[in-house]
Amino acid sequence: MTPMFAMAVDPWILAFSAITVGATIFMGFWTARKSKTASDFFVAGRSVSVGWNASAILGEYLSAASFMGIAGMVMSSGYDALWYPVCYACGYLLLLLLFIAGPLRRFGAYTIPDFAEGRFDSPVFRKIAVYFVLFIGFFYTMPQMKGAGTTLSYIFPGLPYWAGVVLVGAVITLNVALGGMKDITLVQAVQYWAKMFAISVPIFVLIIALVCGTAGLPHILVRFYTNPDGVAAKRTTMWVMILIGIFYVFPPVFGVMGRNLFPELYNGIGAKGTDKIVLELPRILNTKYAPLGSILSGITCAGAFAAFMSTFSGLLVSMTGAMAHDVYGRMLRPKSTPNERCGCSRSSPSSSVAWRCCLARSWSRWKSISWSARHLPSRRQAISRCCSWRCGGVNSR
């Protein structure tokens, strides 16, 4: 087994990962080009399909922690770690569906800071809410970077961990600066299905190949074309629940199989430890069916890329929005024109990434990031997406 860890770059894995990164960057360019019509579309408040919207929410929600971390934790801690995915999924029900989505929507607020200021009639609460957005975003990006480092040091065995972090940080910054890519429903939806594909297909092939069992993946991609109202919002949440549940069945399977098949990972720590079981496990097929294991491992690598890239850029966009719309536009200079706010938002994504992985490079001149900041300011990820329903109302003031 040891030569497996010492081998050079696997062409299959590299190819799949490169395709994912390439496709993501391409989508960034593509949406940048199409953003004008897209903004017309969303501001006009026309309907978005429930299925796509649910997928889009999950594209952002399922992070590197979900994709790699849970499998690693189930492998190292067993039953206790199995509670994590369950609680991730169920927190959605308890908070969003039952208590948050309804009141927020009824209030007519589209972001948490908006709600805080309006409800308590106090700009202080807006400030507090903005700090929370930035604080949560900052700490949420850390594990994404860890996932990036782990994956890249798996693909390129000689590459130091920090280099992976910096590289992925650069790619994501470029991407956000180019397209504000998180803001097009389609792109996010594609990211969810990429992850779903990547986590489920290798498992199924593994189960079939190793256990000779059969299983069927329920491909549920139902599109409802509805009006943007409360009923549609609730339906979307229902679909989010369903899709998230299906997704979370798979990572523990990786963990349990890793427990039996890859005990040597217990010796490693950090990027060489159980965290990479999702990436490493499919390789086991290489001993019998030569390239198949590498292909599947390439697929899970691609899924890992989709996971941390989508989550990271989603966080980046929402933090950018908080900086430009709330901190600059409302607190620092309330009388600033939309154009000035855009100028501010141009520099904020690059600066916030620079904090994180010391990237001094500025992508600030791109027109498209100003689009994303103008039209989607401080949209707090899934919560607001459930409620706001892609409504452009918050931007029209």
């Binding site: 039953y79 369950v86 169920c90 029900l93 409360g230 609730k234 629940m241």
Partner: protein
């Protein structure tokens, strides 16, 4: 149509529904560790070949339970809104 009273009665009903669903959810959530504690032999039964009952319930069985709760909540919540609207409209129809 959009009187305060109308809104408040709807909000009260929906809050009640929310709390009921949350309690059901908490029941399921806390029920599993309690079952592990009080009936360890039962939860250690092997189902579907490999895993024990408690693994099965937590890893897979949990999600359908949550789906059922959210489906019920969504159905009821929408029905409540419809009922309320119908009531208000029927109050207004006598006027020519």
């Amino acid at each position: 149509m959009h009187s305060e009273e109308f809104l408040h009665s709807l909000m009260r009903k929906q809050l009640k529904l929310s709390i009921a669903c949350a309690l059901a959810f908490l029941g399921v959530l806390l029920g599993l560790p309690l079952a592990n504690y009080f009936w360890p032999e039962l939860m250690a039964i092997r189902v579907f070949g490999g895993f024990t009952l408690t693994w099965f319930l937590l890893g897979i069985g949990f999600f359908p339970a949550v789906w059922a709760i959210s489906l019920y909540f969504i159905r009821r919540s929408i029905a409540l809104e419809d009922e309320e609207v119908r009531e208000v409209q029927s109050d207004q129809t006598p006027e020519p």
